[in-house]
Structures are given as structure tokens and as C-alpha cells.
Subunit: 116 residues, 2 copies
DNA sequence: CTGAGTGTACGCAGATCATCGAACACCCTG
DNA sequence: CAGGGTGTTCGATGATCTGCGTACACTCAG
């Protein structure tokens, strides 16, 4: 049967579920580097000001193209700061506040306070 | 003999007193970037484990040459983390713990705890 | 003065990072 | 199926950072 013939496209799709890293496994260096970038700081602050799963990736006001934005989200995921979930064509976001805070107490608050 | 004739050498000397930045004027981004580097983390931890003005620049156990080490110290100074004072041929160091802590509460402790 | 010890400045190589445009995959609606 | 909307990946570019060797300035001890 040759089967459903869903030819492997050799290209990772948008629908590949996002790869997450738990804050508990994140090195301090990774966390600091992730939070040092101004664009990512903005993302984190806007995330903190909204409820879980409220904001989609394209809903953030940052002066970069969507390609760059996508990279920033990946960095935040790898730093254990962000959780993402697919909802239709959109990808919804949640700040992993409690989990990250347990791992690096005070760090997230520091970023939220400065420049807020 | 016409004077000692100390010709201006046009090259900044070692003895130029170190340029310091007060923690109160340091942007969060600068602080995070300074503390993200593994070598600088080691320096900060060793500094924290010693008394003020106890350690000279060359007394740190890090796997870099002294030229690179000198650069790292400059970064720490610009981040408001380090104060330096000349004592004879040596340059003594002090971690600006209280001042930095007032500006970024908890950040330094985070670095000292992780990997200590 | 000479020499050893200490630390900085400069210039270069290599690595990493942020950014972009373009191409692509996916979802939903019509 | 066609098309608009959403988000990812790829490749290239420019900037920044770390690292090193070298040269140099300074201090102190002989």
C-alpha cells in the first residue's frame, strides 16, 4: 500500500511541536544570555503583562521581521522562559514564570522591573 | 640637564587610573552580559570568597592569558561589578557587592550560588 | 641603571549572534 | 481547490566578542 504517502518533506514544518527545555535544566549562562537581549526583554515583559495563552507570536510589537522574531522565541524556549502551544494557524505563548522563578529566584523579576 | 624630559609617550600607560562605572549607571543589559561569561563568573566568585583589596589581577586561576584577563576585568569594571586600586606594581581588586546589590538585587547572589 | 614582575593597548583570527529576504509548510475559510 | 494568514527554516551579511601574541609602560628590588 504505499500508504498514505505523506512524503517526508525533509524540511521541518511549522507544525513540528515546539521543542521545550525545562527551566530546571537550563544553565545560568543560557538564562542570562537569553534575558540580556533588548528584543527578548520586551517579549518577556509583554508576556508578563498578559494572561497565559493570550498572545500569539505575531502579536508582539518589536522592530524586527517575523523571521528574527521566530528566532527570539526559540531562544526563549531553550532558556526555559517560554512555553508554546499550537492553536489553529497560530502559536500561543505562555511565560513560565513560576518554574523559572524556582530555578533562578529574582532574575525574572529583575528584568520585569527594569524598563517597566 | 634640562629637566627630566619626560616625553609624553602618546600611549596610555598601565598607571592610568582604572576607569570605573558606578553600578547605579549600569544598564541591565550590560550587567547581564558581563555576568553571562564563564570566565567572569569565576572571577566574581573568587572575588566574593576573598576580602576587599586582597587579590591582585594575576592571582586568579582562569584558563586565559593575561591579555584576555585584562579585558575581562575591564568588562567587570564597566558593569559596575569591580573596583580597582593600584598598589605598587600590582592592581588590587574589590567586588562592589553592596552597591551592585542595591542596583540589581539578587543578581549577584544568583551567580554566586550557581556553580558555587 | 638593569632586570624581573605586573598589567594594559593593539591588531588579528575565529566563533557566535542578530538581522534580513526568500522559500516553504501549515491552518482555516470561501 | 485556491488564497490569505501564520510561523519556521535556510543562507548570507555585518557586528560583536573572546582569545592570543606582541609590544609597551610602570614599579620595585638589586
Amino acid at each position: 500500500m504505499t500508504a498514505p504517502s505523506r512524503q517526508p518533506t525533509a524540511v521541518t514544518s511549522h507544525r513540528t511541536p515546539p521543542v521545550h527545555t525545562h527551566p530546571g535544566e537550563v544553565p545560568l549562562e543560557t538564562a542570562l544570555l537569553a534575558l540580556a537581549d533588548p528584543v527578548r526583554q520586551t517579549l518577556v515583559r509583554e508576556l508578563a503583562g498578559a494572561g497565559d495563552w493570550e498572545r500569539s507570536c505575531g502579536s508582539f510589537d518589536v522592530p524586527v521581521t517575523k523571521a528574527t522574531l521566530s528566532r527570539h522565541f526559540a531562544v526563549l524556549r531553550e532558556a526555559g522562559l517560554l512555553e508554546q502551544r499550537d492553536a489553529g494557524p497560530k502559536r500561543l505563548n505562555r511565560l513560565r514564570r513560576a518554574e523559572f522563578d524556582e530555578r533562578f529566584p529574582g532574575l525574572l523579576d529583575l528584568v520585569l522591573r527594569h524598563g517597566g
